[in-house]
Symmetry: C2
């Protein structure tokens, strides 16, 4: 334990207790379903920090490591949940707001985790040793701070993985969660071998030409509604075939609709063979888009919600959604005027 913990002084004693309570044995570092950069980065870093004679450590997820994140795992072993050998494993959950986020099989198999590391506001605090801080921009920020505070060795793969988690979960240092500590840790990780430009090239410069044509068609469909406060973009049936893309290629596209000056809410409507899917993104949580989505059987967060409907034409659904958004904007405006 480092007596001068710089980044997470409140966790220093607890982390020392955790580190001294790690016997020989088998450890599994559990991430959440549909893992993102912060999840994979946290798993890589924690698994590597746990490596020691007499310990076996593997990472496990319900879903595979996404193609664009494979570059950062190095020789860290990752298994699918279905492939984890039977027997005793001490489970450490990372970036999971609750055990259920890991997926049914893993949540059921590890009812009493040995530890958890997370930054989600809704985390109920689970695990014998828990390190949860919702003021942190990423679970990787917490792990980086704990490792550096404790003076643990941080190899280049660990540093790079932690950097990837921080960079992706802050939207490249753009979100409100980005603080002085975030940048100080990034500087430290670069000193330990993180490679911001190489990581960015893997994360953002390996788009397919098809994905850019999908974006182009989406942008071409933009239409402003509600006096310019809502921007709706459409991905009609057949567009994936026409551009050689897949539904996962829509990731992040709705942000273009939200990013227009004067627009409060961006909308992506996708016509699929089994119905219509819509994504809603707001600039301000007062619009409570989770409530709008709920009117169509969907849900989510105040600024990011989604829904699926069946048995409706695109034109009909679009009109109903715009009407619901207009009503929501009107009610928020009225509340603002009254307060």
């Amino acid at each position: 334990m480092n007596s001068a913990a710089q980044f997470y002084p409140a966790f220093a004693a607890r982390f020392a207790a955790f580190a001294s309570a790690l016997p020989a044995g088998r450890y599994v570092v559990v991430g959440h379903a549909r893992p993102d950069g912060d999840c994979i980065g946290s798993q890589v870093a924690l698994a590597r920090a746990l490596r020691a004679p007499g310990r076996e450590v593997v990472c496990v997820n319900t879903d595979p490591v996404p193609r664009r994140l494979k570059f950062c795992i190095g020789d860290t072993p990752f298994l699918r949940a279905t492939d984890l050998p039977a027997g005793e494993w001490a489970a450490l959950f990372v970036d999971c707001a609750d055990r259920a986020r890991a997926g049914d099989r893993l949540a059921t198999r590890f009812p009493t985790p040995f530890a958890s590391f997370d930054h989600h506001l809704s985390n109920p605090i689970f695990g014998t040793h828990s390190f949860v801080d919702s003021d942190s921009a990423a679970t990787c920020e917490i792990l980086a701070g704990l490792f550096l505070d404790a003076g643990l060795p941080v190899d280049a793969t660990t540093a790079n993985a932690l950097y990837v988690g921080i960079a992706t979960d802050t939207g490249q240092f753009r979100f409100h969660s980005t603080t002085r500590r975030t940048f100080l840790l990034a500087a430290n990780l670069v000193a330990h071998g993180a490679q911001p430009a190489a990581a960015s090239a893997e994360l953002y410069e390996r788009e397919t030409a098809g994905k850019l044509q999908l974006l182009q068609r989406f942008l071409a469909s933009f239409h402003l509604e509600c006096a310019g406060r809502v921007c709706v973009g459409i991905l009609p049936a057949g567009i994936y075939e026409a551009t050689g893309t897949q539904p996962e290629d829509t990731e992040g596209m709705v942000d273009y609709a939200r990013g227009i000056d004067g627009v409060d809410i961006g909308v992506l409507i996708e016509e699929r063979s089994d119905g219509i899917k819509a994504s809603l993104r707001g600039k301000d949580p007062t619009f409570r888009l989770d409530r709008v989505a709920a009117q169509f059987g969907g849900g989510g967060h105040a600024c990011a919600a989604g829904l699926n409907v069946k048995g409706s034409t695109l034109a009909d659904f679009r009109a109903r959604l715009v009407a619901a958004l207009a009503a929501q904007i009107s009610s928020v405006d009225t509340a603002d005027t009254i307060s």
Copy 2:
């Protein structure tokens, strides 16, 4: 002068000499034509640092401060080149690879600048006091380091402007120029009042609908050359009028051309009333795009260069540029094979 200069020890003595050679009088901080975030941020920061009793300081540019950068100038005075009062002014050039980058009127008016601060590789070193470091990610990185090393007071507007310059010129900490020092300075600037999230909202969530249609047209024009290693996008004459946009709205667009998997060099070619402008962006500095640009009278960095040509048709110029890029790629490939 701070004897323990942390960020730019090589400049410490020179900066102290510069600071002690600033008499009362009138100072003009000159930025380049079509100013970007690093230019405006540098002008704001340097102008504010120069403020003292007996000194009058204004910033001047050939072109106006772009709409989306106005948020970061605070009460710093900016003038158009045509509006700068006559008489004696000591000129400090920032972010200008050479005097000509400021535009004809300013380059002619200030043949012997008092100082220059820049990070462009091709800078010939001009000005009585010059601070040029091409290893720096931004001119704002140099200024931030110099100010902090010297212990100058940095107010919140200065810190935020310097942050904007660093964040924009590194593509949000994604380019090769991003180093440990870049992050350490960002951390310091946040401590002095820079606001990463608020700046990001201004920079990236206030696009005009027209700019997204400009992007859409640019994406639709993409064509792969050199066996998929070069992606060329075109903005033809009349496109600004058709989309209700301006040349400044092209900022960042060439990155989409570079961002395709397998592409080494992204190109944006813009047909203007007074000639053709091209921007080149490489994934790897070995392609030395500054040298390719130099063949057409342009310049810049190894991974980011630009050029302007007159008296050539779009088709003719495009063919000559693609040929030059093909030759450059071929020579780099050959060198790789030999080494």
